[in-house]
């Protein structure tokens, strides 16, 4: 950037695009704190003491199920992350450390799940979940999301595990640690940064998904927050305060998490896709 003119042009374009990216989000959040009259009268103005109102939020949280939908989403996302990390790390360890006959074939088998979206099997997933008597349960969602996220996690974790110096494992073996203890006491602590990365990029799509909650747990109070908000919006379609507040209720926690974790997340996206 030697020439200041071109630097200004580049900043100008980036600022304009950033504004375009943020404007709709800010507009919704801003107006959710206003009274109905101000939403329509001055949609672009910030809420002032005279237009400030929380009436929409009263409605959203007055509908007590929204809070339980949040808990459902936290359970599903947390459960998925836990099982994806635990089973993913175990499988990644076996694939990188141990030699056996089907090693390469198994890696190819897992690659199918990275390329083909699991959604295409939805018809049979529903049949299976019905047969297992898991319809409208959070367990069903955790199973499906774990299956969906395992392959990519295994690949990313394997890459990190391949970098663990051989000496460390051998030292453990010499000290008489069993293979199981080597994994749980030496390997797992060493790949914590990689696990954080996998956790963050597993979290967002699971939290945001509409498809599987709609198919597997659409009623009975087991809705996730994304589906719950979607149903809430359908019900209150004409109540602008409630709609804007419901949208903001869904946006704000994700934004906070994103600001905290954006570094890991972007690193995870790139390490996952650059393969």
């Amino acid at each position: 950037m030697r020439k200041p003119a071109s630097a200004i042009a580049v900043h100008g374009i980036l600022i304009l695009y950033t504004a375009l990216a943020l404007f709709p989000i800010l507009l919704v959040i801003m107006n959710s704190f206003k009274a109905r009259k101000a939403i329509f009268g001055a949609p672009l103005a910030l809420p002032t003491p005279s237009t400030f109102s929380l009436i929409g939020y009263d409605k959203v949280f007055g509908d007590s199920s929204i809070v339980s939908y949040y808990l459902n989403s936290i359970t599903v996302t947390g459960g998925t992350i836990f099982f994806t990390l635990l089973f993913g790390a175990m499988a990644a360890w076996a694939l990188t450390e141990y030699k056996f006959r089907w090693n390469t074939l198994l890696a190819l088998f897992l690659a199918v799940g990275i390329m083909v979206p699991i959604r295409l099997g939805s018809v049979s997933i529903i049949q299976l979940i019905v047969e297992l008597n898991l319809i409208n349960t959070l367990t069903a969602l955790i199973f499906v999301y774990t299956a969906q996220n395992l392959p990519l996690s295994i690949f990313i974790l394997s890459e990190f595990m391949a970098q663990i110096p051989k000496d460390l494992r051998e030292a453990g073996r010499c000290d008489g640690l069993s293979e199981y203890n080597i994994f749980f006491y030496i390997v797992l602590p060493l790949i914590r940064p990689a696990m954080a990365t996998v956790a963050v990029f597993t979290m967002i799509p699971v939290w945001n998904d509409l498809w599987f909650p709609l198919l597997l747990a659409p009623t009975g109070g087991k809705q996730t927050i994304t589906l719950g908000i979607q149903q809430f919006l359908g019900q209150y379609i004409t109540d602008w305060n409630a709609v804007l507040s419901a949208l903001s209720t869904a946006i704000i926690p994700v934004l906070i998490l994103y600001v905290i974790f954006s570094r890991q997340l972007i690193r995870g996206l790139t390490s996952g896709a650059v393969k």
């Binding site: 580049v10 141990y98 295409l120 509409l210 908000i229 919006l233």
Partner: protein
Amino acid sequence: MADAKAGAGNAIVGMGRGSYAVLLAFFLGPAIIIYTVFSIYPLFATIFNSLYLRQPGGAYIFNGLGNFHTLLTDTTWSVPFWNAFRNNCYFFFIHMLVQNPIGLALAAMLSLPRLRFRATYRTLIFMPTMLSVVIIGFSWQLILSPLWGISKMFLNTLGLGFLFAPWLGQESTALITVSLISVWQFVGIPMILIYTALLAIPEELIDAATVDGLNQFQAFIWVKLPLIFPTIGLVSVLTFVNNFNAFDLIYAMKGALAGPNFSADIMGTLFYRTFFGNQLQLGDLSMGSTIATMMFLIILIGIMCYLFLIQRRMQRYTF
């Protein structure tokens, strides 16, 4: 035996063949079982389902490729199917023509040397990608709504008020509007992938090019762009897979009927409607599976094209 050899050749001294097998089963078992049962089995079972036809009595009989024949030729099925397929192609082309070039341009600017506030721009521009499609869809629905009138107000300030129309409600513009909203949301993905690829190009290459008399823009076109072709290929195939698998945004904005008059209908919504049914028809497991299998084939063809036509011809540059 390979197993025995592997056991002996491996560093695990003093472990018998049996306990080695137990060890492998312990580490690999849970992941493989969950993945096979909830991901691979349903995929194949769906393909299998598509070969059966439901009889009026409720029994299923083997129908060979009959369901596919019905889907592609019987007008009750083929008209919606080709409509959804065509719309899905438009949806994909709009992403390729708008989302990926914008992503490339943003990545090129972000990767300029000595750019200030780089991380801030990157984080903020990526933000919409993080949010749920449902939330994005609904927010845009409000913004474009003539009731709120905010987009009309905006266009009026620019002196373009005459352009305003209920874009989401018109048959001629619904699909393109929905596509552009999707572009707006997901532009962060090509941006980040291309940006990372650009950062991996060593500084010296660009320095050499600038010493040879190229300016930043020329250096980008002639030096960097050819080097990131593999990433652009990857971005294209990711766009393809995601677009032909899309559902959430159309469902959130336009409902399962993808109206008006199915003008925003894509494969994902057609599949959902067929399998679950709607006001016009009952749910149909066989035809639902048939459509899912068609989606599977389309995505497979896209991935194959990428693997055989693009990736094989491309040299990977490692520095």
